[in-house]
């Protein structure tokens, strides 16, 4: 990058605050994520959404599993749970059932939610459990050194697929939609304001809602797949993403070097688990 010389002399100002600071445990910053990791961008889009919603922070709980994405829980000045690997959805389900007025959000990685935790995901979606699941999909297990996961694209190089992945990966948009999610969107970390809108919509929507964020993992995915630096991963998104709201989830596969779909795929109303439970309880005279 060409080095230019600053034209204006900056001033030094102590005590200034980043606009998102009220949501962050600033004593833990800077965070541990690598240079160019998309997780900080995904987190900040989520916090702009919380700003926009204007909810009482005490009415929000964020649950994470294990992984680089799982670290989100530790940086939020909110009630958060950093749970065991794969289990944020069961924890979130318990929270929601015990305290139905809480806004419960799961923020976790593709491996956590769809490998070890895949069973929990499909059943929470099937039941239309009233929680929002946010998945940062970096196409691999970032934290443990870049192993192949259920979303790793065909042909991709990982530490456990050194000759290229030959397995069929999950299309998360299609999986969420077929399992019963009532709101499904996918964006990339380049889409800050669209992501904010998707979070606002998903969090305000009744029932099981799902937002997938494609995010660069330069340390373990980008470099190994000769995508270059994080900057090049973002340029790849810019060149390959196609916005198509209401597209058929089946068409949302992610294939290396091919265009991929982003947008809002599902937005529908359906009775939630709690509503059905209450109806049944009344029916049998217990409610």
């Amino acid at each position: 990058m060409p080095v230019k010389v600053a034209r204006a002399e900056p001033e030094f100002v102590p005590g200034v605050r980043h606009p998102l600071e009220r949501w962050l445990r600033t004593d833990r910053l800077p965070h541990i994520w690598c240079s160019g990791c998309g997780l900080g961008t995904a987190l900040s889009a989520f916090l702009y959404a919380l700003d926009e919603l204007g909810w009482d922070p005490d009415s929000i709980a964020v649950v994470s599993g294990i992984g680089c994405t799982g670290r989100v829980a530790g940086y939020l000045k909110l009630d958060t749970y950093h749970t065991t690997h794969g289990r944020p959805i069961p924890f979130a389900t318990g929270l929601k059932l015990a305290k139905p007025d809480l806004h419960v959000i799961v923020f976790s990685g593709d491996g956590d939610l769809f490998a070890i935790g895949g069973n929990h995901f499909i059943h929470a979606a099937r039941r239309n459990m009233d929680i929002t699941v946010i998945c940062v999909n970096n196409l691999n297990y970032g934290m443990t050194g870049g192993q192949l996961g259920p979303t790793t694209p065909v042909g991709a190089l990982t530490t456990t697929s050194p000759f290229g992945n030959f397995e069929h990966p999950f299309n998360l948009v299609h999986l969420a939609a077929s399992a019963g999610a009532t709101y499904v969107a996918r964006w990339t970390t380049l889409d800050g304001r669209r992501l904010q809108k998707a979070f606002v919509e998903a969090l305000s929507h009744k029932g099981f809602t799902f937002v997938e964020i494609l995010s660069p993992c330069p340390t373990n995915y980008g470099r190994r797949n000769r995508m270059g630096e994080a900057l090049d991963e973002l340029k790849y998104y810019r060149e390959h993403m196609v916005i198509r709201h209401g597209a058929d989830p089946k068409d949302a596969d992610i294939l290396p070097g091919k265009p991929f779909l982003v947008g809002k795929f599902v937005d529908l109303e359906k009775p939630t688990y709690l509503e059905l439970y209450q109806t049944k309880a009344r029916e049998i005279g217990g409610g």
Binding site: M1, T26, L29, S44, G192
Partner: protein, 89 residues
Amino acid sequence: MSELQERAAKLWKVPKGYIYVLEEFCKGCGFCVEFCPKKVLAQASHFNDKGYHPPEVVDPEACVLCGFCERICPDFAIWVEEEGKGDVS
């Protein structure tokens, strides 16, 4: 008081407000520099304590205060403020 508040940020005046850079938080990814639609920023030649090149403002007059640099930064290291209005993002 949090560490963030104790740290001093660099501030540049631009036509509609201000750009702040908290150099210690920057990890030099270059996102803000690359994706600024007006090419207001460039990587500085100096290093921060962690050995990264933080951004600096090289064309203040061109800034339209769109806030994209703030949105894309993964490290809460750059943000903008509208004159008289606080945060614009």
